[in-house]
């Protein structure tokens, strides 16, 4: 497990990405955790300006990007300061000595030089003059200033790490050539720096050994590496194809959701319309308007923007039109910590609207899982004519993992039929429901003879006319609730992983999937029994959820919030579920969950 850390300007994300790609192509299983700082470029060399990228890879399947890196590459004192606390004792530390000058040390708040004051005694420290060696290596290249040359030092570091783990290099060399095609001298410089780094590893006596981590045994098929936001984007595109509905995205930029807008904007040849609205209200409104017209209306945001969509979602509930609302959760409340993950928007999406306003909720559990979660959200929205919340978070969004690319032909059809004919003799009743799904007909403008009006006032059953009738209102409130509750019959049962008949169940949802799995593995390795189950549907719950949670003496629900799923489970099933809750704006560590589970199992 490796972490690259440096200044925002040092290209750490790119370096991490390339290392990940090499590793993926090599065949290791892996998981990554990029960790870029705030949203503006802090001054070079400062603590808030530190950017990091962690890669966990192994010859077996991997569930999390790992708790503590074994290797840390620190490009400057600030990067060292911010990350050293996480490095495992006895771990390997590679530092760019060129950056350890007085100014940088002071910016990082070091009183003395840690390379000299003995404070790093617990680690294997490799002092490498990354900057000067890079400059030296690139001397031959014309058109490159020494400042530009120095910028290639991340490729030097990448080369060194690639050597250390014996990664295949072709991919990176091809990437560099393509990426910098417009400036061939930069391409040459980066390639040269990369090779110089590799060679340095091979020749320097400082690095005695290189490690070989054999490829993991994965299911056969074609793989790619994928991040949550990309998987989500592709999932939406796939859902558009599978449903036959053109995709309309209404969005307003916000971290960490902007990327979905940005990626979809590249995919116009899929018939995608991306509308960067004036705000989140307009973004969701436009998506709903498009849905009225028969499009697949989608709106994406993070918590601070989702609150602004509540009013529109409420309207969609009563209009009974499909609408996909993607919430890529981040740490709050209010603006909070925009780049950091959290899972604390669950109760908001469940209840954050006036009156009884039920909305199905689907959550992704892994970066690649965002693909299927998106298709599932769309399937439900279309079939049941309802807004659906799709939850991801900043960790899934930016994290990545290898993904067995699905066969397009094997993906299930999720198409629907628009109404084309009156459904009551000569008359069209826009709120007459399908007996099984309770969905109402979707009659889109342009359909002759089905002209009708819908709105936010309470509607009479069947006709959809405005009605203030008390009993009708009660009926409609219950119909809307029953429609959503009924989806339970149409989603998979909750799967339990319980190899040894445990008494303790760990129930999770969302991005804690990997950490819970890894922790359970460790707990089982100590001879203890523990069961795990993970919810991908939060509303309604899978139909056997009550059965599952009641089957265990102890139920632990770890969440990166103060206990939101726990509350829902306790209320619905009256089981005394306990929580493990840390709200730190970062994923759980397997180790802490291991401790929590062990404690409960032993209790």
């Amino acid at each position: 497990m490796i972490r690259f850390a440096g200044d925002s300007g040092d290209g750490m994300q790119l370096t991490g990405d390339r290392f990940t790609s090499e590793t993926a192509v090599f065949g290791n299983d892996l998981a990554t955790l990029p960790d870029f700082p705030a949203e503006i470029r802090a001054p070079a060399g400062s603590l808030p300006g530190v950017s990091g990228f962690q890669v966990h890879f192994a010859d077996h399947d991997i569930l999390t990007p790992g708790d503590q890196p074994n290797v840390l590459v620190a490009m400057n004192p600030a990067a060292l300061k911010v990350n050293i606390g996480d490095l495992a004792k006895g771990g390997t530390l590679i530092v760019n000595t060129d950056a350890f000058n007085d100014r940088n040390l002071q910016k990082a708040g070091y009183g003395s030089n840690p390379l000299e004051d003995g404070s790093l005694a617990d680690f294997h420290v490799h002092e490498v003059a990354l900057s000067s060696m890079t400059i030296e290596a690139l001397k031959g290249i014309d058109l490159i200033t020494s400042r530009e040359a120095e910028r290639s030092k991340n490729f030097f570091a990448l080369g060194l790490m690639s050597w250390l783990y014996q990664r295949p290099v072709e991919g990176t060399l091809a990437f560099v050539e393509k990426k910098f095609a417009k400036r061939p001298e930069i391409a040459e410089a980066n390639a040269k720096a990369f090779k110089a780094g590799w060679n340095y590893g091979e020749t320097s006596e400082d690095f005695a050994v290189s490690y070989e981590i054999a490829p993991a045994k994965l299911e056969p098929g074609t793989y790619r590496q994928i991040s949550g936001n990309t998987a989500l984007t592709y999932g939406l595109i796939a859902a558009s194809k599978l449903s036959g509905l053109p995709l309309f995205l209404g969005a307003y930029p916000i971290t960490p959701a902007s990327e979905v807008l940005e990626q979809l904007a590249y995919l116009k040849h899929f018939g995608v319309r991306t509308f960067q609205a004036e705000d989140e209200i307009a973004a969701s409104g436009a998506a709903l308007g498009a849905a009225f017209g028969g499009a697949l209306g989608v709106t994406t945001s993070a918590g601070p923007g989702i609150v602004l969509k509540s009013e529109t979602v409420g309207l969609a509930v009563t209009l009974e039109l499909p609408l996909i609302v993607v919430d890529i959760q981040r740490a709050g409340p209010s603006t909070g910590m925009p780049t950091k993950p959290e899972q604390a928007d669950l109760l908001m999406v469940m209840f954050g609207r006036n009156s009884e306003s039920p909305v199905p909720v689907v959550a992704a559990s892994t970066p690649a899982g965002c693909f299927h979660a998106a298709i599932e959200a769309v399937r439900i929205a279309i079939k049941y004519r309802t807004p659906v919340f799709l939850l991801s978070d900043a960790y899934l969004a930016n994290g990545s993992e290898p993904w067995l690319i699905p066969e397009v032909g094997a993906l299930a059809d999720i198409s629907t039929e628009f109404a084309t004919e009156p459904n009551d003799g000569e008359t069209f009743l826009p709120y007459r429901r399908d007996a099984e799904t309770l969905a109402r007909p979707w009659a889109i403008p342009g359909t002759p003879g089905l002209e009708h009006r819908i709105g936010g006032l309470e509607k009479e059953d069947e006709t959809g006319n405005v009605s203030y009738d008390p009993e009708n209102h009660d009926l409609m409130v219950r119909l809307r609730a029953a429609k959503v509750a009924g989806i339970a019959a149409d989603i998979p049962e909750l799967e339990v992983d319980d190899p040894d008949g445990a008494e303790t169940l760990v129930l999770g949802w969302g991005s804690t999937y990997g950490a819970i799995g890894a922790a359970a593995r460790r707990v089982r390795a100590t001879g203890r029994n523990v069961a795990t189950a993970h919810l991908n549907h939060l509303n309604p719950f899978p139909r056997n959820t009550g059965e599952v949670v009641r089957a265990y003496d102890k139920v632990l629900i770890p969440e990166i919030n103060l206990g939101q799923l726990r509350m829902l489970v306790r209320a619905e099933f009256l089981v005394d579920a306990v929580g493990y809750n840390k709200v730190r704006g970062r994923p759980f560590r397997a180790a802490e969950l291991e401790d929590a589970i062990t404690a409960l199992v032993d209790s």
């Binding site: 790619r224 116009k268 899929f270 319309r273 709105g455």
Partner: protein
């Protein structure tokens, strides 16, 4: 209605009446507008299913219920946003927004100005009664300063918006004004709005006889105070055409006695002028400043339409990259195969 099976239809006003009982207060100006619009609709030459009315909340916003077309009575102030999504994704439809002065200029101000600058192909009809009707009589952003209403028993404190000035400031490509009871004027403006490709903003002066009766009597009742703007004609008005409009050195447009000035100094109206400055100046002629109110089309210029640009971008992308291929997308970037 009589269709001929070819999509060609010859409709009448009656075809546009829905089966819902109209529920405005007796005497409300909204009835007159509904009537004119129902009579006007056949002029669009579109079958009913291709027409959609989207509204927000307010008395005016009940409008869609009464039209035998597709319709959505949405949420307060958001109609322009909702209609944008519809119009942009369905260029085959004729999308109309009906809104009130509170709906459009108070809570919905931002959506309005953004849809205007984007030039989305929407026809936006703002029924301005200078009051919140539905919530029973609070002042609105077009109410005059010092207005005594339910929520301002001691008089309102905020300077009103001039709906046309704000629309022009927001880069609107089409801006017009009409009066609820002025069938001819309103019909003409509706026709011009419908013909305009892009967003068309129409302020309709509407009497709320319950909470703000007579707010527009000076021009609704007194026809002599109506300045009908006619493209390419000198601006003259009054019972005998005795008044006219000139441009002053300070850039403003002002009402004068026509007799007092040289005929050639009268402004010749040019709705198609790209520069919005004169249309803006005309929007500043009000009853308060000049004792008269310009009506008709202030501004109507062509500029790229958001929905068209969007469609073109999709077409271009398909031309360049071919119709999107899902399998190819999923396989883009580095892949590797495990046997």
């Amino acid at each position: 209605m009589s269709g001929n099976g070819n999509g060609l239809v010859q409709l009448t006003a009656k075809d546009f009446k829905s089966d819902q009982e109209v529920r405005w207060c007796p005497g409300c100006g909204d009835y007159a507008i509904l009537n004119v619009i129902q009579v006007f609709m056949p002029e669009l030459g579109l079958s009913r299913e291709r027409i959609v009315f989207v509204s927000g909340i307010g008395c005016a916003a009940r409008f869609p219920y009464y039209m035998q077309t597709y319709g959505m009575h949405s949420i307060h102030g958001r109609a322009p946003a909702i209609a944008t999504g519809l119009a942009v994704s369905r260029p085959d439809l004729s999308v109309w927004v009906v809104t009130g002065d509170g709906d459009a200029l108070s809570i919905g101000g931002n959506h309005l100005i953004h849809s205007l600058r984007r030039n989305v192909n929407l026809k936006i009809l703002l029924f301005n009664n200078k009051i919140y009707g539905l919530t029973k009589g609070q002042y609105s952003p077009t109410s005059e300063l010092g207005k005594v209403t339910k929520s301002t028993p001691l008089g309102s404190l905020d300077h009103p918006f001039n709906p046309l000035s704000i629309a022009i400031g927001a880069e609107a490509s089409f801006v017009a004004r009409a009066i609820d009871t002025d069938k001819k004027g309103l019909t003409e403006v509706l026709g011009a709005a419908a013909r305009h490709r892009g967003s068309a903003f129409v302020e309709i002066l509407q009497n709320c006889n319950i909470y703000n009766d007579g707010a527009f009597d000076f021009v609704r009742e007194e026809k002599g105070n109506r300045i009908y703007l006619q493209h390419a004609e000198p601006i003259r008005f009054g019972a005998e055409g005795e008044k006219g409009v000139v441009q002053e050195a300070d850039g403003s447009a002002r009402v004068v006695e026509a007799a007092a000035v040289d005929e050639t100094t009268l402004l010749v109206h040019d709705a198609g002028q790209r520069e919005p400055s004169l249309a803006f100046a005309l929007s500043r002629i009000t009853f308060e400043t000049d004792g008269a109110v310009p009506l008709g089309v202030f501004r109507s210029v062509e500029r790229p339409v958001y929905d068209d640009l969007m469609s073109e971008q999709l077409d271009a992308a398909r031309e360049t990259s071919g119709e999107g291929d899902l399998a190819a997308l999923l396989h883009s970037g580095d892949t590797w195969t495990v046997a």
